[in-house]
């Protein structure tokens, strides 16, 4: 049995087909896979931005309503104090 450092990888000319595929087909499949992976990654980036924008807008509006509710509570307390004083 050969030691790991003695293992020789075949040069490109000595290509041996794996699972019955020729070199051209393997390279073509790899290129397609790479392109598909890049497209999917780009798609997910777009999706994350789109979903993030939608829910961020609702959260921002929710915060706006919450601040408004706090202002109204203060105003009601102020009014109650004025009514109690008069």
């Amino acid at each position: 049995m050969a030691a790991p450092d003695e293992v020789q990888t075949p040069a490109n000319d000595d290509y041996e087909p794996v699972e019955g595929l020729d070199q051209q087909t393997v390279q073509c499949v790899r290129a397609c896979e790479s392109e598909a992976a890049a497209k999917t990654a780009s798609d997910y980036e777009h999706i994350v931005w789109a979903y993030g924008v939608i829910w961020s807008l609702f959260v921002i509006y929710g915060v706006f309503l919450w601040r408004r509710a706090s202002r109204q509570s203060n105003e009601i307390e102020d009014l109650q104090r004025r009514l109690a004083g008069s």
Partner: protein, 234 residues
């Protein structure tokens, strides 16, 4: 009950949203022409429907406000207009994100994009007039809301009337059942969220009106003895 209902809606939306996301990403097939990016559809389209629904609600409420001088209708109109701005901004941002990935261009100036942009600007004008307008400007604002609501059928039929990059309105009918199954929960989650925020905002507007009346009443009561003293002296 009215106080609890919006929070119940928000809670329900909070539970439906993760279910909807797992349906979209794990159970729904990838659309063959556009690929994974088509999944933006499940929130972009329902958001556009909700935006149009709210614009109609705002226009109808503004009409009732003009005819009957109803404070509740006015409050509904204001709340719906603000939510048209929120949902409209969502549609106007997610659309170009999807367009950038699919068409290679975020904005193509097609009729549906332009009419949606116009709707957003009309409601932005409504909110600005309501916020900064002088006394009596609420009638002008109501007119703007009615004008905005008329833009809704223009948006809907834009793809039929003009040549656009957007797909035709028939595309919804041709969707496979698995895509509809993912679209409904997304629509319900967004609708419940929008309804909850609308109800909270209507309540706040009604409280503002009541507070204004209370302050005027208080000032009037405080001013009355002075006025009586002033008229007595005269």
């Amino acid at each position: 009950m009215n106080k609890i209902l919006p929070f119940a809606f928000l809670g329900a939306a909070g539970m439906i949203f993760p279910y909807s996301v797992q349906l979209i990403f794990l159970q729904t097939p990838i659309e063959q022409q556009m690929g994974t990016v088509q999944k933006i559809f499940y929130f972009h389209v329902p958001l556009a429907w909700i935006m149009m629904l709210l614009a109609v609600v705002c226009g109808v409420a503004a009409g009732i406000q003009l005819r009957r001088d109803s404070k509740r209708a006015e409050a509904i109109s204001i709340a719906a207009a603000e939510l048209v701005l929120v949902t409209g901004l969502g549609v106007l941002i997610t659309g170009p994100i999807w367009g950038h990935a699919t068409w290679g261009k975020p904005w193509t100036w097609d009729a549906r994009q332009v009419s949606t942009g116009l709707l957003w600007l009309v409601f932005a004008a409504y909110v600005l007039v309501r916020h900064y307008g002088a006394a009596g400007s609420e009638r002008l604002a109501a007119g703007l809301a009615i004008f905005g609501a008329i833009d809704v059928p223009v948006i809907y039929y834009a793809v039929k009337i003009w040549k656009t990059t957007h797909p035709s309105t028939d595309v919804a009918g041709s969707l496979p059942s698995s895509m509809w199954a993912a679209l409904w929960p997304a629509l319900i989650a967004l609708l419940l969220t929008s309804l909850a925020l609308l109800m909270i905002r209507v309540r706040q507007e009604m409280t503002d009106v009541a507070l204004d009346e209370a302050w005027i009443g208080l000032e009037h009561d405080a001013a009355s003895p002075n006025l009586a003293a002033a008229t007595g002296d005269a």
